[in-house]
């Protein structure tokens, strides 16, 4: 379980119930610095709930998350972003009436300070900050290879580029951990391949990546470690090869091997 002397993210004993449904029960895991960590599991296993707990969107019933030893649980979302966790959404959520560049600049909100008074007076400090943000946003668009679309309304970009823009917006908050919710969903093979390159490059730059993904090939090929959730419980955790051959994982995905006939009849 313990992956290193000092993991970046520590998730400890997270439980969450929605009404009578126990979405997560006592999930604990650790994500090492500069790694790509995969989170997989069948539909309804609790992946997205765990994701929302880590990013501050949902408060857990029990348990804590800490990033670099600082507690995330209980903090509002914008504080979690400030502490160093950024996320993307399963169904892309961009600010459609803003240009791609402005989308990324909004992503820098937690790392900038200009207030209303500064905006009205447009002091030297505010102008400098604005110029710095614009340059950094251009660099980020370059980074995800959509610099040519900087001024296009984000809603007009093709699907694959919207995904990239959303990643750029998340990167704009200079996160220590970037959490990607099914980034390859709906992508074709070549788009997935270039996404894979991008995620690999993020790790090279020193960002830690948490990945929820249905594309098992992508997860197994890309991740350093993988956790498998089923019915809200962590049923396996380890390097991809070990997880892939874990009987509990095979059972969760394919059903119990003891009852093949019953499954076929049903």
């Amino acid at each position: 379980m313990n992956v290193g002397p000092e993991p970046l993210l520590r998730v400890h004993g997270i439980s969450k119930a929605f009404g009578g449904v126990q979405a997560l029960s006592g999930v604990s895991l650790e994500i090492a610095r500069r790694s790509i960590y995969g989170l997989i599991g069948p539909n309804g296993a609790g992946k997205t709930t765990l994701f929302n707990v880590i990013t501050g969107f949902i408060a857990p019933d029990a348990g804590t998350c800490t990033l670099d030893g600082r507690r995330l649980t209980g903090e509002p979302v914008h504080r979690v972003v400030q502490l160093g966790v950024a996320r993307t959404f399963q169904n892309i959520r961009l600010f459609h009436q803003m240009s791609a560049l402005e989308n990324v600049m909004v992503g820098m909100h937690a790392r900038s300070t200009a207030g209303a008074l500064g905006a009205v007076l447009r002091t030297r400090r505010v102008r400098d900050e604005e110029a710095r943000m614009e340059a950094a946003a251009h660099a980020l668009l370059e980074r995800v290879s959509i610099a040519a679309h900087a001024d296009a309304p984000s809603g007009s970009l093709p699907y694959g580029l919207q995904r990239r823009l959303e990643i750029a917006r998340a990167l704009a908050s200079s996160p220590k951990l970037i959490a990607l919710d099914e980034p390859a969903a709906g992508m074709n093979a070549s788009e997935t391949a270039s996404l894979r390159e991008l995620i690999d490059a993020l790790r090279e730059d020193g960002t830690t990546v948490l990945l929820i993904e249905h594309d098992v090939r992508l997860v197994m090929g890309l991740c350093d470690r993988v956790a498998v959730l089923d019915h809200g419980q962590l049923i396996a955790e380890g390097v991809p090869a070990a997880v892939q051959s874990d009987p509990a994982v095979i059972e969760a995905y394919l059903g119990a091997p003891a009852a093949p006939v019953a499954t076929a009849v049903r």
Binding site: T55, H78, L94
Partner: protein, 386 residues
């Protein structure tokens, strides 16, 4: 030619040369300075008053534009802040309490107090969106109006439905707005004084709006409008920024309100009903939500149109020799028809911001393509299929 980035602040969207820009600016300045003289000479003194009201409503509409247009918070009780500003001025500069505080003190006080009321409304509604928020704000607006209406007993705070009269006119540096002043051979009547004062403050409100729009704060507001969860995930403190939007918008309303009180010399609760809130909202939506120039246009049109429609009577007499339909019967009907027509043919408003315009155009093009694509058998689909 590479496409220019989205125009920022006051910069020129059409890419005109500096010389042309300068000429345009000079022309606009001259037009704004001479407007009351021209309007008076061409249309009569009553229209100078309309011009003053255009300025007041522009300030109001720009305030609501921050809340509705930028931050996307549907507020149906906005006129309450106008009322707060108006009553603050009325109570502090009339014989009602015998107070005669100076204008330069009351104007910022009105902005501040209205801003506080804005936060008061904002705080309990932070988790509400769309229609639910609209209902609560509507209630808030009505509460303020009913409060003003009923607070004449046991302690006579607002003088109830009779309202407050004999409000002192504004004095700037010893110059009373209510009197005509002579500058050389030129006589400047009271309505002109107010025009110039309102003009200065309107320009200030436009300036503040424009600066806010193209700033970190303005972007965060639009982000909240577009997708609140994504805004939070981008690190935007949505609670504080929504409160700020309510407070800023309300303070513009408060400024306009205090000016209105001194301009009219009289305030009563019935000036602050729901219809007024709706009217200001119409100005914002019809002009082009979130686009400052559009909102100014919306305010100017919706203030002048009902006045212009008064000419239906004389027009009928001129055409038919007699008045067939009373203008008062037709006025609101035509006004309503105009609103419907505009929203049908220009759903993004008369003068939407460039990017909003593009998006609406794109949506229409997609819809058209879907139709034509269907007709031609979807050849595009066949081509892209592997």
């Amino acid at each position: 030619m590479p496409r220019l980035p989205i125009p920022a602040g006051m910069s020129d969207a059409a890419g005109r040369s500096p010389l042309a820009q300068g000429a345009l600016l000079a022309l606009a300045t001259a037009a704004l300075l001479l407007a009351p003289f021209l309007v008076d000479a061409l249309l009569g003194r009553a229209w100078v008053r309309v011009l003053d009201l255009v300025m007041l409503y522009t300030m109001l509409a720009l305030g609501l534009n921050i809340v509705v247009g930028f931050a996307g918070l549907l507020d149906l009780g906005y006129i309450a802040f106008f009322a707060v500003g108006a009553y603050l001025y009325a109570l502090c500069a009339s014989p009602h309490f015998g107070l005669h505080l100076p204008f330069w003190l009351l104007l910022p006080a009105a902005a501040l107090v209205a801003g506080l009321f804005g936060m008061l409304l904002g705080a309990p509604t932070l988790k509400l969106r769309g229609d639910y928020l609209a209902i609560v704000t509507l209630g808030f607006g009505e509460i303020i109006r009913i409060f003003l209406n009923n607070m004449n007993a046991p302690f006579n705070l607002t003088n109830g439905p009779q309202g407050i009269t004999m409000i002192r006119p504004i004095e700037v540096a010893g110059v009373s707005m209510a009197k005509a002043h002579a500058i050389g051979p030129l006589s400047i009547p009271s309505l002109y004084n107010y025009y110039y004062l309102f003009l200065v403050l309107t320009l200030l409100v436009v300036f503040v709006s424009a600066r806010l729009q193209h700033s970190r704060v303005g972007r965060a507001w639009v982000a909240i409008r577009e997708d609140e969860s994504a805004a939070r995930a981008s690190g935007v403190n949505t609670r504080n920024l929504k409160l700020l939007a309510f407070a800023m918008g309300a303070s513009f309303g408060g400024i306009a309100g205090s000016l209105y009180a001194s301009f009219q010399g009289f305030v009563s609760p019935e000036s602050f009903g729901l219809m007024e809130s709706i009217m200001v909202l119409c100005m914002v939506v019809l002009g082009g939500m979130g686009h400052i120039r559009g909102v100014v246009l919306g305010a100017a049109l919706l203030v002048t149109l009902p006045e212009a429609l008064r000419y239906i009577g004389p027009l009928q007499r001129w055409l038919f020799g007699q008045v067939h339909i009373e203008p008062s019967d037709l006025r609101l009907l035509l006004f309503g028809v105009a609103l419907v027509v505009v929203m049908r043919w220009r759903p993004a408003g008369l003068w939407p911001s460039a990017i909003r315009h593009r998006e609406f155009a794109a949506a229409r093009a997609t819809a058209d393509n879907a139709v034509t694509g269907h007709r031609t058998g979807g050849s595009a689909d066949a081509g892209s299929a592997p």
